[in-house]
């Protein structure tokens, strides 16, 4: 058999394809949320679904995130498989009660009599003045709560496989996307496949330092690893993909081997997922492993809008590489790659307003 060129898709199209294939396969799947059926179709991620599946299965909602989440939960308990879409993760703060007090607990507190096969899609915003209320990565709040699964695919391949896995999962899954990843491309098989709960990916092999990059920080970490290679440092970049359940074993094994663990979160550090990863590894490895730890994430501030401030709010390939260098070569002089070389292609492309 001939082996054709792999098909390359954008993140947004892979995401759309996953939902499309699942809706085709299973009539109990439906998609709803503000604007899923308009001409912009959530940046294109729900494009065509209305035409294919009709308004019963693809529909917008009132601006009522709290109740709409309850509706999704009820529909899920009654046997449907809702995909509930929010254009920003920040708005999940309006439905924390339903997500945490009902969705996460339903199966348990009702003695296993019901299950909640619900996918909650939400996007993280970044740059072009998104600001304090349109930029938050709140996965740390969700991974904290037993009963919720959380996933943050960082590339087109994984977003398709994770979405299919999330839809098929019998539990509530918080599905975290990133606006700046939407146009990034990778090889995406045409057939349905899953990247299931607990799967992670070792993106680059290396011996000097383990770098864990969460959500789009996986991409930034890969770029940082390239920069580091130029100065003779090899980094093992791990994309956890699923944040809950988390494949801590892969991270632990790598950190044991490299002796250095740098976790880059796409959110705040204090008591977030970066803390969990460091703590879990520190606890499991014990002092004899001699692992050195560091974390990077959002600055401990709300996100400012001015580009001159926002630039300093996020880790980027340059600051990640510099931090890794300092961990690996503490005796040597500080090294910071040039700003130009540290840019990511997808960051350069993005232009506002949204």
């Amino acid at each position: 058999m001939s082996s054709p060129e792999p098909r390359v898709l954008r993140y947004v199209d892979a995401l759309r394809e996953a939902v499309d294939q699942e809706m085709e396969r299973d009539p109990s799947v439906f998609v709803f949320g503000l604007d899923v059926d308009d001409h912009k179709s959530i940046q294109g991620s729900t494009a065509g679904l209305l035409a294919r599946y009709g308004a019963d299965r693809v529909f917008t909602t009132p601006l009522s995130e709290d109740a709409m989440t309850g509706v999704a939960i009820g529909a899920a308990m009654a046997g449907l498989r809702p995909v509930h879409v929010h254009i920003r993760m920040d708005f999940l703060l309006l439905c924390m009660n339903q997500l945490v007090n009902i969705a996460a607990k339903a199966h348990y507190m009702w003695g296993g009599q019901v299950k909640v096969p619900l996918v909650v899609r939400s996007m993280i915003g970044k740059s072009w003045g998104q600001g304090a209320q349109h930029s938050q990565g709140l996965h740390g709040m969700f991974t904290h709560v037993p009963g919720l699964k959380v996933v943050a695919p960082s590339n087109a391949h994984d977003v398709k496989g994770c979405m299919i896995a999330a839809i098929r999962d019998d539990n509530p899954v918080v599905f975290m996307e990133h606006r700046l990843l939407y146009n990034t491309e990778s090889a995406v098989p045409a057939h349905p496949y899953t990247v299931g709960p607990g799967e992670s990916r070792v993106c680059t092999r290396g011996d000097d330092v383990t770098i864990v990059g969460i959500s789009n920080m996986a991409q930034e970490a890969i770029r940082a690893a390239e920069l580091l290679r130029e100065v003779g440092v090899t980094a093992e970049v791990i994309d956890p993909i699923w944040l809950m359940p988390l494949d801590i074993d892969t991270i632990l094994a790598s950190a044991r081997r490299t002796g250095r663990l740098l976790v880059i979160d796409n959110g705040w550090m204090a008591g977030g997922l970066s803390a969990e990863i460091v703590a879990a590894v520190a606890e499991a490895a014990g002092p004899s492993a001699g692992i050195k730890f560091a974390r990077m994430g959002f600055a401990p501030t709300p996100c400012p809008t001015s580009p001159w401030l926002e630039d300093h709010f996020y880790p980027n390939p340059g600051s990640i590489a510099a931090r890794a260098w300092a961990m690996v070569r503490p005796e040597r002089e500080r090294w910071v790659p040039s700003a130009e070389s540290a840019k990511l292609a997808y960051q350069v492309q993005f232009k506002g307003p949204f």
Partner: protein
């Protein structure tokens, strides 16, 4: 079949059994409570049972009900397992939630009880979600969700009503307005205490208020709403004015608390729906029902007491499906 007013006797028989059963189950729970065998915050519906009974009387097996922490009546009226409820109160492995829910979170999926939730108002949108699924299935099923007057002050109540009306969902909102949220009277919480139905109507949900505790009026309203609903007529709301006889949580009365006088309760007690419906029956028939009910409860208590406690490893079961 003899007729008393409009009510055919075997109906009265059925309704009385349901009422009496709920009343006695809760009274027995209250009695057991002082033994500390039931370590669960109990919110008794004594005095309000007729709302659940009348609404569930016009529901079918395939229909769903959901409600709040004060849901023993709803659960039993819809056919939830009594031994399962009792064992749940005792925290036993045979409880309807296997000891993970207690009095405030009860469920019986087989009977169409979709679960009760202890965060006020939180089951209201969930019920609309069931109704969305029911509408999609197109089999004429309906959902009834029971909520207190306090729950109508939560944002999700309004949000849900609007959505239910927008999508013509087959969901009946049953507001049991007992005039208090814990110890706070409606007038300290709602600018227009009498405006609950007006709010529903403004949101597109037809509403009826029954202010005298009459079981048959409530049932008539429910019947006509539910009939309409099964034919795609969309949601409706019933506001049933009732009175809570016992304290908000716990087995006792609390007329000495100072927030409400016994005199406020007395007219309601005099018009007790359990007694009123019971009076429609011959004394012999009534006595027989009472005996059957007592026997059933005794058996349920025995079941709960003798049931095994959950094994420690059960703690970790059912976090994920």
């Amino acid at each position: 079949m003899s007729v008393n007013g409009n009510i055919v006797e075997d109906e009265a028989h059925r309704l009385y059994r349901a009422l009496r059963r709920i009343r006695r189950v809760e009274e027995v729970i209250a009695e057991i409570y002082s033994s500390d065998k039931i370590k669960s915050p109990v919110h008794l519906a004594i005095g309000q049972e007729h709302v659940s009974v009348s609404v569930c009387d016009c529901l079918e097996d395939g229909d769903w009900v959901g409600g709040s922490y004060r849901s023993h009546a709803m659960y039993l009226a819809k056919g939830g397992s009594l031994p399962g409820l009792m064992a749940e109160m005792y925290g036993k492995d045979t409880g309807c939630c296997r000891g993970k829910g207690g009095s405030m979170h009860i469920i019986d999926v087989a009977a169409g009880v979709m679960g009760s939730s202890a965060v006020v108002g939180s089951q209201v949108p969930v019920a609309a979600g069931y109704a969305l699924a029911a509408k999609r299935a197109g089999e004429g099923r309906v959902v009834a969700v029971f909520l207190g007057d306090g729950a109508t002050e939560e944002g999700c109540f309004y949000e849900t009503l609007n959505f239910a009306a927008l999508h013509s969902l087959p969901v009946l909102f049953v507001c049991e307005n007992n005039g208090y949220a814990i110890h706070e009277p409606l007038a300290k919480r709602r600018a227009r205490p009498g405006g609950i139905c007006a709010v529903a109507e403004a949101l597109g949900v037809p509403a009826t208020r029954v202010d005298d505790g009459d079981l048959f009026r409530i049932r008539d309203a429910a019947t006509s709403f539910v009939t309409r609903m099964r034919q795609g007529g969309g949601p409706a709301l019933i506001e049933a004015v009732v009175y809570r006889w016992r304290e908000h949580v716990g087995p006792n009365e609390d007329y000495d608390g100072g927030y409400r006088p016994l005199s406020e309760a007395l007219p309601w007690m005099e018009a007790d729906p359990v007694a009123r419906v019971g009076a429609l029956l011959d004394a012999d028939v009534r006595r027989k029902v009472n005996e059957e009910v007592e026997a059933e409860i005794t058996e349920a208590v025995r079941f709960a007491e003798e049931s095994p406690v959950p094994r420690p490893e059960e703690l970790y079961a059912n976090v994920f499906a």
